[in-house]
C-alpha cells in the first residue's frame, strides 16, 4: 500500500519529504553528517516496515516517528548510559560555537541544541513542521500534557539562552569598540 503510494509521489514531493526530514533531524542533532545518516536510516526503515502504515494520510507522522526512533538508536549507540531528557549535544563554550554566535540563526540553532532532547523534539516538530500537539504526542509516544509542558519549558529555556547570548555579545561589542549586537527584534 505504502509502496504504491511512494511510487505515486512525484520526484519533487519525495525530495521535499527528504528535505523536511533532514531539517528536523538537523535541528535535533545540530550536525549535518549525523542528520543525513539518520534520515537515510529512517527512509530505509520506512521502506522495510512499510506494511505498518495503514493510512497514507498519516505518512508524515509515521515518517517522523521512524526518524525519532532512528535518532534514539543513534543516541543509544553513542551514549548508552544517559537519560534522553538530559542529553545536551553542544558545548556552549566551544570556540566554534562562540564564533558562530554573530548570527541570529546560529544563536537560535545553538540555543535549540542546548535544550534537553525531549524539549528540543517537541519544539521543532511544532515550530518547524507545524504539527499539532496530538500528532507530536503520537510521534513521541508521550501524553499530550507532556507535549505542552515540554514546549513551555523549551520556549522559556530558549528565550533565556538567546538573552544570555545577546548579553554576551553586547559585552564583547563594548570590548570591540561598539559593534552593534543582534537582538531578538531583528527577526520579529
Amino acid at each position: 500500500m505504502i509502496f504504491k503510494f511512494f511510487t505515486s509521489l512525484k520526484e519533487q514531493e519525495i525530495k521535499a519529504k527528504r528535505e523536511r526530514l533532514y531539517r528536523v533531524a538537523y535541528s535535533w542533532c545540530n550536525d549535518p553528517g549525523i542528520a543525513d545518516d539518520i534520515v537515510n536510516e529512517a527512509l530505509f526503515k520506512a521502506l522495510k516496515t512499510k506494511t505498518e502504515l495503514r493510512d497514507k494520510k498519516r505518512l508524515d507522522s509515521w515518517l517522523y516517528k521512524i526518524l525519532s526512533n532512528c535518532w534514539y538508536d543513534y543516541l543509544r549507540q553513542k551514549r548508552p548510559h544517559e537519560q534522553l531528557d538530559n542529553v545536551v549535544l553542544l558545548d556552549e563554550n566551544c570556540p566554534e560555537s562562540c564564533l558562530q554566535q554573530h548570527e541570529v540563526v546560529q544563536q537560535v540553532r545553538n540555543g535549540v541544541a542546548l535544550l534537553p532532547l525531549g524539549q528540543r523534539q517537541v519544539l521543532t516538530l511544532v515550530d518547524l513542521e507545524g504539527l499539532s500537539y496530538q500528532e507530536v504526542a503520537e510521534i513521541l509516544e508521550v501524553p499530550i500534557g507532556t507535549v505542552m509542558s515540554r514546549l513551555n519549558r523549551a520556549r522559556k529555556l530558549l528565550k533565556t539562552e538567546l538573552l544570555n547570548s545577546e548579553a554576551n555579545m553586547q559585552k564583547s561589542a563594548v570590548k570591540d569598540g561598539g559593534h552593534q549586537a543582534v537582538t531578538l527584534r531583528r527577526i520579529k
Binding site: 511512494f6 513551555n152 520556549r155 531578538l184
Partner: protein, 239 residues
C-alpha cells in the same frame, strides 16, 4: 471570562500554536486586552516561534561544513539531492520487489529461493552499521552463499557495500574484521568490498581518518551504488 492572571503559559503557547477552540481563543484575546504584560509575553512567544522556524529553513548540508569545498559541494549536493530523490524512488520500488520481500529470511535461503541456475547471480549486501552482531551475521551469510554456490558450481557475484558507521569495519588500522576480510578475499575471487567515499569524508570531518584495507575499493556514494545495482537486476539485501 478568564482572568488575565489565570491564563497559563501552556494556554498561551497553545494559542500561539493554533491549538485552542474558538471559545478558548476568545477568552485569551479578552485577557490580552486587559493585560499588557500578557500581550508582551505573547509577542515574545510568536517571535521565538518565528525565529526557530526561520533558523532551520536552510540547514547546512552534510558537505557544506568545509569552507574550501562549500561552493562546489553545494552544486554537487543540489544534483545529488535530485539524484538521491530519484534513487530513493527507485530503491523503494525495486528494493521492495527484489530484496525486502525476503527481508525476514536468512540470506542463504533467499538465494536458494532464486537459483536461476543458468544465469549469473549478483547480490549486493549492504552494511551500514557498526553493530558487531549484525556485521558478523552478514559476513557469515556472505560466506555461506559463496560456499554453497561454489559447491554447486554455480556462478555468483557478491559485493559487500559498506557505508555510514559501517565504514569502520574497513578501517585498516583498527577494524576487528581485517583478517576475516582478507581470508574471504583470498578464498573467493567473486567477492568484493566497496567503501562509500562520502562516508569516509564524513568521518574525516569528524576528525576520524579511515585508511581502507587493501581489499576494499571505493564508490562515490552508497545510495547511488544501491540504485545502480538494483537497476541492473542485482539482489539487494541490507544487513
Amino acid at each position: 471570562m478568564k482572568d488575565a492572571q489565570k491564563i497559563s503559559d501552556d494556554l498561551l503557547n497553545a494559542y500561539v500554536d493554533g491549538e485552542l477552540s474558538v471559545e478558548d481563543q476568545a477568552e485569551v484575546i479578552a485577557a490580552l486586552r486587559q493585560n499588557p504584560q500578557l500581550s508582551e509575553k505573547l509577542c515574545e512567544l510568536r517571535a521565538l516561534k518565528e525565529m526557530v522556524n526561520v533558523s532551520y529553513q536552510n540547514p547546512p548540508t552534510p558537505r557544506s561544513i568545509n569552507d574550501q569545498q562549500q561552493t562546489a559541494y553545494r552544486h554537487a549536493w543540489s544534483l545529488s539531492g535530485i539524484a538521491a530523490s530519484i534513487g530513493l524512488l527507485i530503491t523503494l520500488a525495486l528494493g521492495t520487489i527484489l530484496g525486502y520481500q525476503y527481508g525476514q529470511q536468512e540470506l542463504g535461503q533467499f538465494v536458494q529461493l532464486n537459483p536461476a541456475s543458468e544465469q549469473n547471480q549478483s547480490v549486493l549486501l549492504h552494511i551500514g552499521t557498526r553493530n558487531d552482531e549484525r556485521i558478523q551475521l552478514a559476513l557469515d551469510n556472505a560466506e555461506h552463499i559463496l560456499t554453497s554456490f561454489a559447491a554447486k558450481e554455480k556462478r555468483i557475484k557478491l559485493q559487500i557495500l559498506v557505508n555510514a558507521e559501517g565504514i569502520h569495519m574497513l578501517n585498516a588500522e583498527n577494524s576487528p574484521y581485517i583478517s576475516r576480510i582478507k581470508a574471504m578475499s583470498e578464498r573467493f575471487e567473486n567477492v568484493a568490498f566497496l567503501a562509500c567515499q562520502r562516508s569516509i569524508e564524513r568521518q574525516k570531518l569528524r576528525g576520524v581518518e579511515i585508511h581502507l584495507v587493501k581489499e576494499a575499493s571505493v564508490v562515490p556514494e552508497a545510495l547511488r551504488t544501491v540504485v545502480s545495482r538494483l537497476e541492473s537486476g542485482w539482489v539487494y539485501i541490507r544487513a
